[in-house]
Symmetry: C2
Subunit: 341 residues, 2 copies
Amino acid sequence: MTQPVGIAPEGGPSVFCGAVDVGGSKIASALFSESGEMKARTRIPVDAAGGDDAARQVVEAVRSLESAAGDAGGRLAAVGLCVPGIVYSGSGKVWAPNIPGWDRYPLGGKLDKALGERRPRGEGDGTEPVIILESDRSAYVAGEAWRGAAAGAADAVFLAVGTGIGAGILAGGRIVHGAEDIAGAVGWFGLDPAFKPAYAEMGCFEAEASGSSIGRKARDMLRAGRSSLMNELASGVVENVTAEVVAAAVRKGDAAALEVAADAVRYLAMGVANIVSILNPEVVVLGGGLFQSADVFLEPVRREFRLWAQPLAAEKVRIEVSALGEDAGLYGCGRLAWQSL
Amino acid sequence: MTQPVGIAPEGGPSVFCGAVDVGGSKIASALFSESGEMKARTRIPVDAAGGDDAARQVVEAVRSLESAAGDAGGRLAAVGLCVPGIVYSGSGKVWAPNIPGWDRYPLGGKLDKALGERRPRGEGDGTEPVIILESDRSAYVAGEAWRGAAAGAADAVFLAVGTGIGAGILAGGRIVHGAEDIAGAVGWFGLDPAFKPAYAEMGCFEAEASGSSIGRKARDMLRAGRSSLMNELASGVVENVTAEVVAAAVRKGDAAALEVAADAVRYLAMGVANIVSILNPEVVVLGGGLFQSADVFLEPVRREFRLWAQPLAAEKVRIEVSALGEDAGLYGCGRLAWQSL
């Protein structure tokens, strides 16, 4: 260790916090100093078997962070851990649809058993790191509010638009969880009174504006015989037309793609506006797969949401694309770990 | 004093908190015990001159509460004070459109000057009550979550539907204020992609579903020649047709009124659903003038919001009409005062 990044109170060992971001396909982990400097990052694939095997990988990740903290002359005081789904705060159970067997899976209990009971601060003997479980979308907003596009904000929302649509909410400096730990289900925003069957499956906003839905709308258009550059861009295979293909065709001025994008932008603008009106955040951070085509979707959403949102809230809010990208979860877990101390 | 309702720690004097609810036309005040028992309530008209005259009435209300607490053998430890509009937490300024001159009016500063500097707990000498300023809608949700329809809930929303539409939000036991103290502006929810000019003035949800808008839609229908019982109920004067008249005609099975109500219910259901999906509250409390016709509007909203909301959040949430009615603000101010100690 050449650069101590932890804090060393009164000459004692440095203190670090750890972050473990469990995604649908990988487990990333890192150590963080109190100021948000990242160290000792690792990344491994999630065991395809899921269940207890994936939980064991999480335990190993925490043990590795303990070792890494020790190697750096310090100790691991707390670990933030996020999962791609929902964390039920009362029970420590998790629901993560992309990990087999993680359907109300008792991850918190498994970690306690493997790592020793993790106690809230002040109740343990000080040698065991506290483990903070959080949903990925809540971690994203915490990360962006620490070192990303919402740095310093106490009121911020991370809106993830990809396969689905969901939001992480920070209000007055605290994560909003809701009564059942499922706050932020904005994919279910009703934005169009003309109800369609798809709304019952995934929610109106998600059915109209997720990356998957944008791809589907484009494919439906092509199948209905509409001529478009999107056909060539997908090498004539309609099944290959995704939101990325729509964005590529928009960049070339394709009329059909512009129509699909404008339709999605209208709903995205309404969704962002509704978030702004109800929560009055300082920043809305846009993330997820769709905003990797930020050149196509960001500016129109920034313009159009003002048509809908409470005017003063609209004037004050910033609409930004994620600054941390794939690292938002790690930073968020690090932040939540530090905040727990 | 025959029934001490305050608490008397270690044999000292009883402690009370006060509540002052400034409305558009009246100032109500009361003392509260820690358990929420109300004492010494008063109610006076707001001075029509507004401005400093109305502020002086507030000062007098606080002084009267101090006297009442003393008469009861105790002291006033804190006062919650709500105004019909917005409280800017940083500056103590208020915006209350129904009180002349209260447009970024420095109410907090005026009270400090008149009553002596009120300091946050622990910083004063313990003899001066702390004053907590809050918006009315935030006070309503705090009150309902104390002794009303959301009693005991840490996650609750008060949705006020009357002349306008707005919400007070409690998340994880704390009021959500937003970055500019204007959270809860749900009257601006975008619920219909077919933008209309009225949306720019007051927001889509408010333009489609406030009590005023329901009355306006009914009047437009009658002026367009639609025959309806509403004409008789308003003694043939179309200008007298309000949301109450619509409700009265619905009770008699009038087709035109049923159409107006069904249209409003669709938007009310979407608005409630959007609140449920983003915040996952335990209870949504419906208040304001419109829900005085709860027999007409409550059950349809309870049924229809499920069509739109995230299914698990919809299953768990309760949708209730305000239990405290006009006293929600007083109870909320009392609660916020106690919570400040």
